[in-house]
């Protein structure tokens, strides 16, 4: 028999409690139900309920996780009875948990919208299964405590997004998918290169273990290059300035529900990975990385705003607005203080909700007008007040105007930049906001208030487009109304969000708890 002391150094001697598995619920529930839905793919009327259940369980699970972390600090579970750093760890702190919660919520809302947008054929072809697998990949990325495992979750997410993107197989979808597929493939390949080399330098892949080993390593030159490689890989994922071309090329091509889930979740996973890696693996930024973040972020905000003004297609305009938001998040990571990371977390939550809402609403508007060309949409307010009000609210939110949720993170971000003396970042944020207001304002006047398409004289109204059936409209407006109320609530009474973002930023900057949680998993109680 081997020495029992030696075993207890690498393997846990205490049984795994059922309660410890709770950290996996947000990822395990959709995974199991996706497999079930694949088995039952011929029963297309069941698919919706399976997917709804999966997202609901994931949401409730991650909700409980959020509360557990507030009370007990970060939670961790290492697979197969190993101890960290030998086994694959899942570790959740306040940031992971709240992101997983919002991602599950967004998925739930999109599943609620789906019956209006997804026909029987697409449902049989696996639409709901792919949505669930996308959620698995996203939640897995948020909760994992191991960098190679993060790569695997990225790939799970990527391959499901490929499937969703080409579902239906229109010409335009294939065209968008070619660009999306190649650039994202390149991004994950670079992530893999950086991960392999990081293992070569440090001999570990566990985030908690990397923290000490990277700091102690003497290969500072290699590590500086690696940090830039990670920035490049996740920059592609997040659609930051010079690496963003795949996003506006692809996000307007699939069905609206798919655009919405992409907009809500995918870029945020890139941002999450940047936040995680540049606080626990490279807390000093290594090399010029933090200055680089600022430059990339500032340029992304401005280029996104300019792109939004230049677009005449509603969903492509939204794609550039999404990109502009990514720039804000990059700026937040670049400033790297408690306040700026707090603003980043808040802005990410706000952006997940509002961009999903706007994309879903673009589906309603596109159906009503029969076109996504802004010039051909008009008179929404005369056709349906409810849709017009929802659009108006979400437009204010994305511009960052009160009383909606965009105001507070933007305000805090400017304050954080001011405290650190990054005046050009403040300029970039304000110029970007101004461009956003101009783009969204111009589109709103045309779409909501003008009587018809571009040539309609002011003051005239011509009834056009299709009247939607009430039942369809009700299905589509339910998730949008929920998002509208949420963003209004987060804007009017931001305390809950600020408190959670404060915790998340604290956990990011003070990683001791995260590390302790990972290494203490399965240790006997003291």
């Amino acid at each position: 028999m081997a020495d029992p002391n030696l075993i207890s150094e690498a393997m846990r001697t205490t049984p795994t409690l059922l309660a410890e598995w709770k950290i996996l619920t947000p990822m395990l529930a959709p995974l199991v139900l996706a497999a079930i839905s694949l088995i039952l793919r011929q029963k297309d009327q069941w698919q919706f309920y399976i997917a709804f259940t999966a997202a609901l369980i994931a949401m409730i699970g991650s909700g409980f996780l959020v509360f557990d972390i507030i009370i007990d600090g970060p939670q961790s579970l290492v697979m197969s009875g190993w101890l960290a750093p030998y086994g694959i760890a899942f570790t959740a702190d306040s940031l992971s948990a709240i992101f997983a919660f919002i991602a599950s919520l967004v998925t739930l809302l999109i599943i609620l919208y789906s019956p209006a947008d997804v026909d029987k054929a697409a449902s049989k072809a696996g639409y709901y299964t792919l949505i669930m697998m996308l959620l698995v990949g996203v939640n897995g990325s948020f909760l994992t405590g191991d960098i190679f495992n993060l790569y695997v979750w990225f790939e799970v997410m990527l391959i499901s997004s490929f499937g969703l993107l080409i579902l239906g197989g229109d010409k335009i979808q294939l065209d968008g998918a070619v660009k999306y597929a190649f650039l994202n493939l390149l991004g994950t390949t670079f992530f893999l290169i950086a991960t392999g080399l990081l293992y070569g330098v440090t001999g570990t892949l566990n985030f908690a273990d990397l923290f000490g080993k990277v700091a102690a390593s003497e290969a500072t030159g290699t590590l500086a290059i690696l940090s830039v490689l990670f920035l490049f890989a996740f920059g592609i994922k997040a659609a930051a300035f010079p690496m963003y071309f795949w996003l506006p090329a692809a996000y307007h091509t699939p069905r609206v529900a798919v655009s919405a889930i992409f907009a809500g979740l995918l870029t945020k996973v890139g941002i999450y990975a940047l936040m995680r890696i540049f606080t626990i693996v490279f807390p000093e930024g290594n090399g010029a990385a933090f200055e680089l973040f600022g430059i990339i972020g500032g340029l992304t905000v401005i280029v996104g705003g300019l792109g939004a003004i230049a677009q005449t297609e509603l969903r492509r305009m939204l794609a550039y607005l999404l990109m502009s938001g990514v720039g804000m998040l990059m700026i937040g990571i670049s400033i790297h203080t408690q306040l700026s990371l707090m603003a980043t977390v808040q802005y990410a939550i706000h952006s997940m909700l509002v961009m999903t809402g706007l994309y879903l609403l673009s589906g309603v508007i596109g159906r009503m007008a029969g076109s996504f060309e802004i010039a051909k949409i008009g008179g929404i307010v005369m056709q349906n007040h409810f849709v017009a009000i929802a659009y108006f609210g979400l437009a204010l939110a994305v511009m960052g105007l009160p009383p909606f949720s965009g105001l507070w993170p933007k305000y805090m971000m400017v304050m954080a930049a001011f405290e650190q003396g990054h005046y050009w970042l403040i300029t970039a944020i304000l110029v970007g906001s101004f461009l956003t207001i101009a783009a969204v304002g111009r589109a709103s006047i045309q779409m909501i208030w003008r009587g018809g398409d571009v040539d309609t004289p002011d003051g005239q109204y011509e009834a056009r487009g299709k009247r939607l059936e009430n039942k369809q409209l009700r299905i589509m407006m339910l998730p949008i109304s929920i998002i509208f109320l949420l963003t209004l609530w987060l804007g009017v009474s931001p305390n809950t969000m600020i408190r959670q973002a404060d915790l998340a930023a604290y956990d990011l900057l003070n990683v001791e708890q995260y590390i302790q949680a990972t290494f203490d998993t399965g240790e006997p109680e003291q």
Binding site: L174, D175, L185, L186, G196, G200, E373, D453
Partner: protein
């Protein structure tokens, strides 16, 4: 051995970068496939390449073996190969379908999703 492998990795990276510069999508596919293999070889090299000592811990030996090839990177590559194979199969089919329905494999001519001139692009506001 590592030295020669490193040079080989560099060469494959260079070849794949060259391929990916092309406008032809089929060359792009080949470039991405080459890149994936270059990465796998790179990680393989990072974990030391040696066949003299098997990575088996003798009985009653406590400690770290030296001079063995690290088996973990090889396990990582195995995962990466499987994932890379799936993605390669997908992009191959995607490229073929795109070629069939768009009638071109030149990425400059694929402009359906992003038309050069949009009609009614003049918003009067």
């Amino acid at each position: 051995m590592e030295f020669y492998l490193t040079i080989l990795v560099g060469l494959i990276f260079a070849a794949s970068t060259y391929m990916m510069q092309s406008r032809s999508v089929i060359r792009l596919v080949l470039g991405v496939a080459l890149l994936g293999n270059a990465v796998n070889l790179l990680i393989f090299t990072v974990g030391r390449v040696t066949r003299d000592i098997p990575p088996i811990i003798p009985k009653d030996f406590h400690g770290t073996l030296t001079g063995i090839a690290n088996p973990l990177p090889q396990a990582l590559i195995l995962t990466a190969i499987v994932i890379g194979f799936a993605l390669f199969a997908f992009v191959l089919v995607l490229t073929y379908r795109a070629y069939e329905s768009l009638g071109t494999d030149n990425s400059d001519d694929m402009r359906i999703a992003e038309p050069e001139k949009t009609q009614a692009s003049k918003l009067t506001y």
